[in-house]
Every structure is written in structure tokens, then in C-alpha cells.
Amino acid sequence: MTWAMIVGILSSGIRLATPYLYASVGETIGQVSGVLNLGVDGVMLMGAYVAFFVALRTGNLSLGLIAAAGIGGVFGLIMAFISVTLKAEQGISGIGLYLFGLGLSTFLFGVTIRNVQTIDGFPNLAIPGLSRIPVIGEIFFQHNILVYVAFALVPIAWFVLNKTPFGLRVRAVGQNPEAADSLGVSVVRVRYMAVTIGGVLSGVAGASLSIALLNTFQQNLTNGMGFIAVALVYFGGWRPVLVLAGALLFSTVNALQIWLQVAGINVPSDVALMLPYIVTILVLAAMAKRRVNAPAALNKRFERGES
């Protein structure tokens, strides 16, 4: 293994982490408020489709990105309506949302675009100065804008969740909705906001695939990335920084596996592909015993006057 290869693997690890980061940071905010949205993958697919469609038709990438965020928000609102207003079982609602997004994006793709096409996505943006640093510059500072924003999102999410009144409310309704309610915090409104923010970020996650990383759209483009994003939230114990660590571990293992394949090294690629999933299960098992940070009201419906 040469330097160039290591740099290449790490650099694509950073890049591949982008969709996971948007989706899992968004999912973290939703889950901290007490709502498990299992439909992230479906929302990502809708975001990816809409971004690609708009970018293809208008030639305007930013417009595609905004549209993806918008459709993500709409899907977030749907999830919030079903799970918060109608108080439906969150896990099953999420599966419904996933199937809906998967089916709808495939259907709309078949009606409007039909065959697989590519576009020129967001170009790489070398950070002046920093990108010149040998090795480091190549790994960290020669990516497209969505990659930088994804990484910037981690400290922002941490700050919002831990240092702002809004974050305090989000955590309160996720830990003890009854107490928050009795103090006059609207559990419903805070959860709606958190889940919708999660939806917007999932939409952007999809867009980061279709108009920045892969620059194409096809049926089931995400291939389950959204489910991994949900797992990464548990993996990171609802802390944005640890979620980032999980996303990087996952994407780097993936980049390594792609490299192994390209290099023709004699590890059956399918076995290598399993690795990240096995690692995720093992980490979840190892972490579960000391899961103190879990939102106590996660996956539970809140009803006034019941406890």
C-alpha cells in the first residue's frame, strides 16, 4: 500500500461520509426529541430524485438542492403528523414512509426521466491555502461544498442541541415529555420542528448523492444508506461528534473495501461488503449496556394526562 492509495482511501472515506452525516445528524435531532424516524432512506430517495430532476431540467444545482430540502421537509411533516399527531407506532410508520418514498421516487423517475442519465454535479472546491498542505490538503480540503457543509453541521448540531433554548426543549421533550409539558413546552410543536429538520437534512443527504457525489439517479439509489444512518445515531449514542465518528468509520471501511476490489486483492468482495454491517452490530452490542444517553421517551407516544 502506497501513500497515494492511503490518501485516496481516506479522501473518499471523507467524501462517502457526507450523505450519512446529513441523514444521521438530522435523525439525531429527531430522535433526541423522542421520535424514531425509520423512513430516512425513503426521504433520502425522494430528495435524491427531486434534486436530480430539478437540476437536470433547470441546470441549476442550487435550485435542485433547495427542492430536495423542501421535499425532505414535507416528508418530515408527514412523519410528524403520523407519529406525533396521530401517535402511531413509530417503527411501523417509518417503514411505511420508507416504502412510500422508495415507490414514489421510482415511479416518478420512471414517468419523468425514464433512463439513467448523468449531470455535472457540484464541483470540487479546493480551500485556498489549506488544500496545498501535502497529504492533509488532499484528504480534507479538496471536496465539493456539500462535503464541507456536512462536516460543519456536526458542531452546529452539537451547539444547537446543547447550548440553545431550542435544543434544551428538544432534549426535554425527548427525556421527559410530561415534565416539559407541565412547564408549558409544547411537546407537539417541538417534535414537529425536530422531525421536520430531520426530514430536510435527509432530503439534502439524498441530494448530496444525486447531484454532488454520484451525479445520477436510478431506482433505489441509496441502497439502504438511510437505514445505516439510523443505526449510526444509536452507534453514536445520540452525540453528534460520536455520530460523526461512526459515519467516518463506516465510510472509510467502505472506501477500503472499494479499493480492495479495484486493486483486485483476493478478498471476496461480498464478504468485504459485509464487514461494515457486522462491525455495526458488534458496536451496538458492545455499547448497549452503557447506554445512558438514550432519550427516555424515544419511540414512545406522548399523551397528555397519561404517564
Binding site: I82, A88, S93, G103, F107, V111, Q219, Y234
Partner: protein
Amino acid sequence: MNQRKLWDLLPRFTPILAVLLALLVGAVMLAILGTNPWEAYRALFIGAFGSTNALADTIVKATPLLFVGLGICIAFRGGVLNIGGEGQLVTGAIAATALALAIPTWPGWLIILVSLFAGMLAGAIWGGIAGLLKAHFNVNEILSTIMLNYIAVFGMNYLLRGPMMDPLQIKLGSFTPQTARLPRAADLPRLIPTRLHLGAAIAVVLAVAVYVLLWRTTIGFRIRTVGKNLRAALAAGIRTKRYMALSLVLAGAFAGLGGAVEVLGLHHRMFTDGSAFGFTGSAGFNGIVAALFGQLHPIGTIPASFFLGALLTGANKMQRVMQVPSALIGALNGLIVLLVVGSEIFRRRQMKHTDKLGSEQVSAADTKEEP
């Protein structure tokens, strides 16, 4: 008085209302996109019921949904959300294929029995891993079953591209990732001269068995108690973790058997397009839809699976005749799930209304009153 009764009955029909509403949304979408929804749905209907062959294909499509759905009835009523149907179908199918190929000279009925059992066992193990992880390590079963889906698919791809690849494919140099055809003696008998095979009948018989298990045995009672009220189950001395794991084992066993039946009854070999979908056709997810549509009742899951099988079969016809992507039905399936779980609130409200004692938290896994 009469109105009151009608209102009481309404929640029983919410799944049907949900489906009608979903079809209506589909019609509006079709109309917006400039397709005549009436024509499209007519093509779908003819595709699903228009001939003996169509009807047989509908039942064939419904069969794996029913197998998975029966497992889902057990799991969801037991309070565990098994999302692992896809992986369990795949592992069951692989085990059945491997066994049938290993004993080609045995009598047909014996190959069938051994292979079906192997498929069931493999599915049970795959579900059981999630059960073990939940019981001993407190790992959320939603996450573990999803991870296990991927692991199963990559395992399938590895086996079909390597050790289990059809020797003929290797000889011809075409390397299509599929196994050899199973011995013909191991083909499940056809019920009528169509593609309809014995699997559908097995599934229906098992639906009755699941009903008996859940409502006429102690194990079933405990499974339901754990799902309905965990605290009460603990207080009653039920080993809740063990029963949650058991629910996952049983759910996996049914899905695994479904995978084995798909191989022995329909495909007669195992193949892959690289994803789970290529083999399962998303039956692992659609089985969840069927179970929910059937109100998590094994008998109700029979017509529910049949109906979804009709939608899926008809959708292919609709795609051919009207150029409407069959994925529309996938979207409507998702919508059905959202509407069914979303409408649970009306049932809960009503139960509270009619039953003053009904203040206990009723989970979505508990959608049907005691018979």
C-alpha cells in the same frame, strides 16, 4: 342506536378504508401525470384476475407475503419489530437450495421435507440472532434485523458467485450468479396446470396454526402479553426477554420457510441480481404490509396477502399496457401502512370510550380485541 353500532364497527374497516384512500391518491397522481386512472386500474384488475393464469400468478405472488406476514403477526404481537423478512427469506432459500442440491438422489418427497425444514431452520436462526442480541445485549431488533438483511444478501451474492454457482455456468463461461436447477423430483406439486404450487396451501394451513398458537396455547398467550403490556408480563413472572427472542425466532422461521417454498415451488433454483429485491421482490417488506392490512391476525393476513399479491401482479400488466411504472404500487403500499397505523388512534379512542378500564397503553402491535 343504530348509528352508535355503525360507529362501533367503523374501526374494523379502517384497513379497507385505508386501501381505498391509497388507491384514490394513486388515481389522482395518475390523473396529474396525464394517464387515465380508470384505464390504468382496469388494466391492473385484468392483470390480476383476468384469466386462470393471472389468478394463479396472483396467488403465487401472495404466497411469500403470507409466509412473511404470519411471522410478522407473531413478532408484532409479541412487541418486537422484525424488519428482517428480506434477510430471513434469503437465508431460508439458500439453506433449502443447498440441501436439495446435496441430496439429489433421495426420493422427491424426502428432499422436499428436508429442504423445507432446512429453510425454516435457517430463517429461525437468522431471526434468532436478532433475538439473542436483543435478549442478551439489549440491541434494538429494528437495527439488528436491518443489518442482518444486508449480511444475508452479501452472503447470498458470495455463495452464488462462488461455491454454489451452477457448474454449467462455469463450464459455459457465462458466470451468471445462480445455482444449478434443483432435482426435478423436488419440485413442489402444482395444484392446477398453472404456476400455482402447493406452497399457497401450506401457507393457508399454517395461518390456522398461527391462530391456534397465538390464541389457544400458553406460549401464544405469553407472547401476546409481552407485546401488550411488558410491565404486566414481568409482574406475572413471564420471562419477557425469552419470549421476545422466541417471537423473533418464529418470525424468522416463517419467513425462512417462505424462502424455501419460493425456491422449491417457483424458481427451482437460487439466483441474484446483487440486491435482495432480485430474489425476494421485496416480499420481506410487503409481508409487513400484508400483516398490518390483515390487522395482525393470521386469518386476516390471508385475504390481505391475496389482495397485495393481486396489486403486485396487476401492476406488471399495468406497466406493460399503460406504461405506468409498477413502482406506483410500491408507493401505495407505503401509503397503506401509513394510513393503517395512522388510523389506529381512532380505535384506541374508541376503546377508551367503550371501556373505562382501557387506560393501559395499547401498542400498535395490539390491534384486535380478544376473541
